[in-house]
Structure formats: C-alpha cells, structure tokens
C-alpha cells in the first residue's frame, strides 16, 4: 500500500520541533525586548514543514523513478502556492 520512505518522514517531526523551539525563543524575545522577528520565523518554520516534506518527497520519488507520485506532489505544491498567492489579492 505505502511507499518505503525510510527516514524521510522524520523531516516532519524535526521540522515542527525546530519551529516550536524557535517560536519559544521568539516568544521570550518578544516579551523581553518587543522583538517579534524570531517568533515569526518560528511560525514560518511550522507552516513550511509539511510543504518542505512534499519537496523532499518529490525529490526522493524522482530518484526512485516513481513519476506518478512526483507529479502529484508537484501539482499539490503548485495548487497551494497559486491559491496562497491569489489569497493575497
């Protein structure tokens, strides 16, 4: 049923852990010095984690010549990017 992805799914776990760690530092920095950039980076890392996983997945599938998954992953990424850009208007 599923593909053998090896350790690739760990990107998801470590991505959000990294995002939460940066967010925690950012929340303290914001509280102490009113510096919001770090918490914004933390939020960005969390939001970007599933999308980065899709990028790595398509790369791995391309190496393994599983082109159907590559195309589907790239279509998903394009739709997310296009919809997000449209929502900016």
């Amino acid at each position: 049923m599923g593909e053998d992805l090896g350790d690739l799914p760990m990107i998801l776990r470590w991505g959000v852990i990294l995002g939460l760690s940066v967010l925690a530092i950012g929340v303290v920095a914001d509280h102490l010095w009113g510096f919001q950039l770090i918490s914004e980076v933390g939020l960005f890392l969390i939001v970007a984690t599933p999308i980065s996983f899709l990028l790595f997945l398509s790369y791995k599938m391309m190496i393994e010549r599983k082109y159907e998954i590559v195309i589907l992953a790239l279509v998903t990424l394009s739709v997310i990017a296009a919809s997000a850009l449209l929502s900016l208007r």
């Binding site: 998801l12 984690t49 599933p50 929502s87």
Partner: protein, 219 residues
C-alpha cells in the same frame, strides 16, 4: 481547541481559528511521521485529494477573514453542531472494509468542502476526510485514518498561510497549546486504553455539540 480558546480563554474567534490551524500542523506532523514510516499512508490517494482540499482550505480561510467576528462565531457554532452530529452518526456506524478504492471524482469534490471546513473553522478536517475516504471511496478504515492524518497537516498549512499573512496568529497560544497537546495526547492514549473507543467518541461528540450550541447562541 477553538471552543476552549474562545469560550474559556476569551480569545477572538479569528485568532483562535488561525492559531488552532498551526497547532494542528504540529500534531499532524507527529502522528503522520509514524504512519508514513509504517507505510500506512496511501500517498497516491493523499496527493490526489490534497490539491482540492488545500484549495478549499484557502477559500474557507478567506471567507472567515472577510466575515465579521460575531458572524464567524455563530457560523463556527453551527459548523461544530454539524460535525458533532456527524461524529455521533459515525460512532454507531460500521466502517467499510475494502481493498479497492473507487469514486475518485466524488472524493476530490467532497475533499474541497472538507478543506473549506478546515480553513473556515480551524479544524484538522479528519472528521470529514475519514468518512469521505472510507464511506465514499471505499478505502479501508486504517488506511483512511493514516492518509487523513498526513493530509491534515498539508491542509492546515495551506489555510494558516492566509491567516499568517494577515497577522492573525498568536504565537503564545500556538506554543502553549502545542506543548500541552504533545504530552497530553500520549498520557490520554495511555489512560484511555481501558475505555471503549465508542464511549470516548460519544462523550467527545456531546462536548462538541454543547460547545457548538453555546457558540452559535441557540442554547
């Protein structure tokens, strides 16, 4: 999470929805890491349904942002009532077990609405995605749960982008809920082992129904 943030913490409903979506990414990433490593996720199905789901999430989030906060609160309440009734119905229905996935087009269409509900209400949408995959597309229930868990993170990520652009996410809420949820989920899973899952679903559906009635202002 949104009812707790709004009804107990008094957070603005739009900020609660936005922050809830970020927390969902964290929980989905943790669970889908396990499901993906075990090969339980049907990647072909997830990536076929996800474009329309993500589009729905972005449309849903844009609708919520455009509406007045009081109306969002009421719409959220009615949405919660509908979801809790769906959960109640699922508690007493038997899942389908089949190995051959069918009705892809219906799956894609319904997924758009599941994504829209996710973006509008700040929910993961698993409560809608699992029945779509299991009851409409005949996907085996375990595969549907694992696939939905993976999709939820992508959908929440798409929806939260719209809120993040408008600065509606509260970092403290996200951090607090995400840190609380991770050990809470593990502890809950251990302590609830002895209780039948049907009762847990029943209690949870009734709590959601109550929260929905309170938020919709019909009670």
């Amino acid at each position: 999470m949104v009812p707790i943030m709004v009804l107990i913490l008094g957070v603005d409903v739009k900020v609660a929805i936005a922050s809830s979506l970020l927390t969902i990414i964290v929980t989905s990433a943790s669970s889908s890491t396990v499901y993906l490593r075990e090969g339980l996720v049907n990647l072909r199905a997830a990536l076929t349904l996800e474009p329309s789901t993500a589009m729905g999430a972005i449309v849903g989030a844009s609708i919520t942002i455009g509406l007045p906060a009081d109306l969002v609160r009421r719409v959220f309440g009615f949405g919660l009532i509908a979801i809790s009734l769906l959960m109640l119905a699922r508690t007493f229905s038997k899942p389908k077990e089949s190995g051959y996935i069918k009705r892809w087009a219906w799956g894609v269409i319904f997924s758009f609405f599941a994504g829209m509900a996710s973006g509008m209400f700040g929910i993961g949408g698993g409560v809608l995605k699992v029945p779509i995959m299991n009851l409409v597309m005949d996907m085996p229930i375990k595969e549907a749960v694992a696939t939905s868990s993976f999709m939820v993170g992508l959908t929440a990520s798409s929806g939260s982008m719209v809120y993040a652009i408008r600065g509606l996410i509260d970092p403290v809420l996200v951090l607090g809920f995400a840190i609380g949820i991770m050990p809470g989920a593990t502890l809950g899973a251990r302590s609830l082992k002895g209780i039948r899952s049907r009762y847990i679903k029943l209690i949870f559906s009734l709590v959601l129904l109550y929260a929905g009635i309170k938020l919709a202002g019909v009670g």
